[in-house]
Amino acid sequence: MIIGIDLGTTNSAVAVWRDGEPVLVPNSLGDLLTPSAVSLADDGRLLVGMAARERQSTHPDQTATTFKRFMGTPQRMRLGKKDYSPEELSSMVLRSLKADAEAWLGEPVTGAVITVPAYFNDRQRKATRRAGELAGLKIERLVNEPTAAALAYGIHTLGEEKPFLVFDLGGGTFDVSLVEIFDGVIEVRASAGDNRLGGEDFNAVLIKLAREKLDPPRLGDDNPAAFAEVLRAAAERTRRALSEADSAPFSIVWRDTAFDFTVTADDFELRCSDLLTRLREPVLRSLRDGRTQAEGLSEIVMVGGATRMPMVRRAVTRMFGRFPNFGLHPDHAIALGAAIQAGLKARNADLDEIRLTDVCPFTLGVDTVDRGVDSRLQRRVFSPIIERNTVVPASRVKTFSTAQDGQSFVEFNVYQGESHDLAENIKLGSIRVAVPPKPAGHVSLDCRFSYDASGLLEVDVTVNETGVTKQLVIVDEDDGAASTDLEARRKALEALKVHPREEAANAAALARANRCYASLLAERREYVGMLISRFQAVLDQQEPRAIETARKELEGQIDQIEGERYL
């Protein structure tokens, strides 16, 4: 069975293609979404999902969240005594999702389709792929998130021939895709995005506001990491409340003192105006690249949790002069689309009349020498070979020639990016070929780029004078060592003790109660403390029935105190 996984910044989900439709798989808590959070419990076991997210503000130095934002960077996150890379943390989430899927399906999972933001660069994609391999999943395909959403939307509107726009504002990334459906072929025409813009940035605005308003200005300086987590949890809560009401309280408890103030929706929107402006650029670019006008679109399909914010909805309405479409569930659409892609990949008979073509959202190319007028000013500039928004798989060739007399070799550095200036692009690798020494310009080389549907780039360089061909497969930035290393790392991760699935619900409830305890004061805190010790006593008796009843009761009580649990 191939599963589809939406590996999100804040929440992840897993879905499968079953009985002619995509179905979301509930996790051990019965939720369709699993928070992308990993935490190290006091007994040294790993907690993944809800329980981990609840521990974020009570145990900030043992919990990691939003690690997707650091995918493909050398940044490491500390859990207890050990550092983990973002891909290792993601692999823990993936492993837990895989276990959920296997438990629900009752059959082993053979492969997975994982979604990545369309604007993820090559390194970030490679890191995601490695995360999947570390979790013991065979990665059948990496799909762009807006493409997956387009699949989920398009599968119901196959008759429509006008293009539609997918506007995907998630927890940490923003993507826009222009999609056209023709005779069952769902074709992505252009993608654009910003891989550093999402709900977390709106939280950051609230946090900045809070730091200005909270009374002692140096509050939290004694433990900045923990304080930041407390603020972030409060900001998330306030932002969600502001989606429903015109004003919401921002309240935290720090060192047993309560601080709070009220944020109005208007003030919040005013402070977010920079972020809202950043939404426009990718929209304009995707329309320009797709050679379409906003008027010619049939729908603007909104997905991603952050599109629930009224200000984002208003901004989109202003941009297009009409109301966007909220027909898809903003949190589920991408996982469902991934499941459809998994069904396509498994050549499911239900999907026989449907095909999907995607584009490569960024430009790939090599560096060349730009000769100055008097042949003195020389600088290396980017020379694109595969232009952005080319349909993949794609293969393009470009001819270059030597720049100096008697040059004995030519080195191509492969870059990805949109800038003429090399420093702003991302280097993917380099290839060097020997050439016969001749005057400048007398040796020509063909450089061929082949880009496959999963985002694997192959570079072939042919020296036309000698016919010598050299090939470079860009598998990984950090050389071949990674592949041998991968197995060892997978073993090491497997050896980590993970909290048992059956107890996940208890752990989550307990973590939540503990967070609640830390964020309340006086008699309500006493009350929660009493609830915790009562639940702990039931847990110690180890009677499944009693534990389940006690947990329901605990959750009910806490729901009454702080409102419904959210995902």
Binding site: F182, D183, G184, V185, R280, E281, V283, L284, R285, L287, R288, R291, Q293, A294, E295, R318, M319, F320, G321, K345, R347, D352, E353, R355, T357, T363, G372, V373, D374, R376, L377, P384, V391, P393, A394, S395, D405, G406, G417, E418, S419, H420, D421, E424, P439, S450, D452, A453
Partner: protein, 359 residues
């Protein structure tokens, strides 16, 4: 029919001008293949589709256009390229007198106000006498850019194109508003510099040039004198350029030619022509080696010396040739005997001294 392009066969289709038929043929072929197994087949199919669509679009536009003036297009060119921004590399000329309304949407008051403002800006920029000051122009531009009518993406995209085209055609009247436009539209910050429409590229180049000249005019700038020299008529002595600031003029010229080719038009043309000739001239020894490789016996294998080896070889040659030449010069007949003796003894003394010192 004998020389019909191969893409029709790839699509399994008779030549047609109907885009729908082509797309249908493509989807039919696509569903019959497995892209994951045969990526090369997909690439070929996709290319065939694109070529066929471009062919169809070309035929369509030929039918639409007057038969006399047909712009032959390369077959692979995208059909929509016709709608690209106006070519801005041309020298200033008056654009169409009325600014095109970005969106014909008459029932909106906002829209009408916005168009009025655009018309005002257009009038100010192209007015003969130019009665608006730079500050006025900037203020007007800022009002337009802050207009709520620009919230719509269609209108914003259109307005951006219009602004760029207008600004570039109104040079030099539009110089003061360029920084405002650039910072508002973040043209400079946009990473896709080489794909920007020509009008925006031209605006950026113009602004860079204005900034460059502004820098040059600072009193302490090292190239200031050179720049003034280039603005004045050429100083010629013995048919040769006689710049006082030889080196800096050379550097300035190369910089201008490389980075601000537009500035060349605004300098003194005679001076520039003379300097361009001089800057483009290859170094003397370079020309010698090329000549030697071509004409001297031994052929290119002997004389096409690596540039890195040229200087050492040349100095070695001088080291050997100069003493021989010198001895011949001193001892040649027809030279005064007294001087010959004097010079000879002088050489001997020098050689003796050299041997004493080094040997």
């Amino acid at each position: 029919m004998s020389r019909r392009p191969p893409f029709w066969d790839q699509l399994d289709l008779e030549p047609t001008e109907d885009a729908r038929t082509i797309k249908l043929a493509y989807t039919r072929r696509l569903k019959a293949m497995d892209v994951d197994v045969d990526p090369a087949g997909f690439i070929a199919l996709r290319a065939a589709r694109d070529n066929a669509l471009a062919y169809a679009a070309m035929r369509q536009s030929r039918i639409a256009a007057a038969p006399a003036e047909i712009q032959p297009e390369p077959p692979a060119a995208p059909a929509e390229a016709v709608n690209a921004a106006p070519d801005a590399s041309a020298p200033p000329r008056a654009v169409d007198p009325t600014p095109p309304p970005p969106e014909p949407d008459p029932d909106q008051e906002q829209e009408r106000l916005f168009n009025d403002e655009l018309a005002r800006l257009h009038k100010q920029l192209f007015a003969k006498a130019g009665d608006a000051s730079a500050a006025d122009l900037i203020r007007l531009t800022e009002t337009i850019l802050a207009s709520p009518a620009l919230d719509r993406v269609d209108r914003a995209a259109h307005a951006e194109q219009w602004m760029a085209a207008t600004a570039i055609n109104a040079i030099p009247r539009s110089d003061p508003i360029l920084p405002t436009l650039i910072s508002h539209y973040r043209w400079r910050a946009q990473p896709s510099a080489w794909r920007q429409p020509p009008a925006i590229k031209a605006v950026l180049a113009r602004q860079a040039q204005c900034e460059f000249v502004g820098e040059l005019m600072l009193t302490r700038h090292p190239w200031r004198q050179a720049y003034l020299e280039l603005n004045a008529p050429p100083k010629v002595w013995w048919k040769q350029l006689n710049g006082v600031h030889n080196r800096s003029v050379r550097l300035l010229m190369s910089t201008i030619m490389a980075n601000h080719p537009g500035l060349l038009r605004e300098l003194n043309q005679e001076t520039v022509a003379a300097w361009v000739k001089r800057v483009n001239r290859r170094p003397l020894m370079d020309r010698f080696w090329t000549w030697a490789a071509k004409y001297l016996p031994g052929g290119p294998r002997v004389w096409d010396v690596k540039p890195a080896l040229r200087l050492p070889l040349w100095s070695l040659l001088l080291l050997i040739a100069f003493p021989i030449f010198r001895v011949w010069w001193l001892l040649r007949p027809g030279f005064s005997l007294r001087l010959r003796i004097l010079a000879f003894s002088w050489t001997v003394i020098w050689v003796a001294a050299w041997v004493a010192l080094h040997g």
